[in-house]
Symmetry: C2
Subunit: 305 residues, 2 copies
């Protein structure tokens, strides 16, 4: 625990909004007091807790998995959606719709037990390097956010990741990077099926979509898996807007934060033009919806750890 909480945050409006909010909800006897059981905070992952540029971490994993598959069966890269993917033709890929994206995931993330998938994923994280930053992918997390997660937990919050990324993938590193246990990661999922293997039951990952945890589905999965409206939520794209509005519009004190990547020198400046996960409506309507915009350039002293 740092001596000064949120030491990587510039002393300014965003940091003040966070510190004031936490002070209010934790002040026993105060009018805004929230008991610990209700202090639920939900964070998007890609672009909110770690870097998503030029591509989300899981996309690099997916690419390496397709290379592994192509080494066994070269014909797959001549077929869609694999062809568009290996050619970085994201326009065509997105035109294939959710089913196209889903098929990429089924081919690379399914047909094995959750334990086998975890072994593959851990080996990848142990060896792969981010092509832009040259470091392990576990090091592209944002330092100010790791501090914020810790600060919230020290103040009795339960911190959740609510990500469009695959739940099994994000669980591989959430504890190490963010101090968040498996059961506090809610993500996109494929359906699991119990099968007997070597005389014992295992969970097989099937080629069938469970849920694509984006937009309204984030809220629906929060309802199913947490069963409480978060009092704090943090996101960075239109895919998080439903969750931010849901958290913001409950009774009592509420804080919804929207990260704006506006620092091309230290990270990358982008918003509405990022095809895979644009930020447009949430930014345009931040004031109307009561969202606190956090600027990387203005509000963070450092970006990475």
């Amino acid at each position: 625990m740092p001596e000064i909480p949120l030491a990587s945050w510039t002393d300014g409006p965003a940091r003040s909004a966070i510190v004031d909010f936490v002070a209010r909800v934790t002040k026993e006897g105060g009018k805004d007091y929230v008991r610990p059981a209700e202090r639920i905070a939900t964070f998007d992952n890609d672009g909110t807790l770690w870097n998503e540029q030029p591509l989300q971490v899981q996309v690099f994993f997916l690419a390496d998995r397709i290379k592994q598959l192509a080494a066994k069966d070269p014909s797959i890269v001549g077929r869609q959606p694999f062809k568009a993917f290996v050619e970085h033709d994201f326009k065509t890929l997105l035109s294939l719709g959710k089913q196209g994206i889903a098929e990429l995931f089924f081919a690379t993330h399914a047909g094995m037990s959750d334990e086998e998938f975890a072994d593959i994923g851990r080996a990848w994280f142990a060896s792969a390097k981010h092509p832009k930053y040259g470091c392990p992918f576990t090091q592209v997390a944002f330092k100010p956010q790791a501090e914020l997660l810790g600060y919230l937990r020290e103040n009795g919050f339960k911190t959740y990741i609510v990500t469009g990324g695959g739940v099994d993938f994000v669980r591989l590193i959430a504890e190490q990077i963010y101090g968040i246990p498996h059961e506090q990661v809610i993500g996109s999922s494929i359906k699991l099926r119990v099968e007997m293997k070597d005389g014992r039951p295992v969970l097989m990952k099937t080629p069938e979509l469970g849920s694509f945890n984006d937009r309204e589905m984030k809220v629906q999965n929060i309802g199913l898996q947490i069963g409480r409206r978060p009092i704090l939520a943090f996101g960075n794209s239109d895919g998080d807007l439903a969750m931010l509005r849901y958290a913001r519009s409950g009774a009592g004190p509420r804080l919804a934060l929207l990260l704006h990547h506006d620092d091309g020198e230290r990270e990358v400046a982008y918003d509405r033009e990022f095809m895979l996960s644009p930020l447009a409506e949430a930014l345009d309507k931040a004031t109307e919806y009561g969202l606190t915009v956090v600027s990387v350039k203005r509000d963070w002293k450092v970006v990475f750890g």
Copy 2:
């Protein structure tokens, strides 16, 4: 916290199995040590944590909800599945299959927001009395089990309810009775949909099944929502067998407990003949599957609080 842990448990094989197991997994440096993040314990609810005889608590709630609906539209009790239900004709009801059961729930648990449902449920728990015991339904919980949950948590376990009951229903009382927060209740669910109501997003409960959290589905939902194989599981019926076997067959120390209701004097003696939730295969194969059978008669000094 009681001076003697598990004070309501008779000093015998079941209590010893629990105490020994907890001592082994918490002994730092020991060969069976399990770090706290992996100390996941999952409990069935109906018949494991609270009484389910002559009927599960939620069935009484369902009956009162149908009475409320019939007061507005008396014709519904002439139609299936309502007719079979109000006539206590469970044989016919079960012959209507999962869809019949689901329709009972859709009619009584859906078409409202999760917040409206919680208000209805809380009002019911505050006023309704168990027809056999004459007490509020919150008082039919088993005292030895409340002690066990507390004992496990004091030893660094995270305790979960994994129930065939409705997740929103069980969450209403899980914190009060068992000290288990909303997010550690996994149950049967109907799908939620985000809707705008009075200018703010709410979660509506739709008449569409999410999952019926019984048998293999318990294991699949543990995989989705917890993402770890529990090291301890406790159930009382064949509906829990998949979960018990899943917990029991992981690597390292494991404890799977099966409650046998064999005390007709203090509670009720039943197993394979209970149509709504029989115990047969799990009892017959307890030894083969490595399950520790807990006898109400032999292992519990008291049943209720």
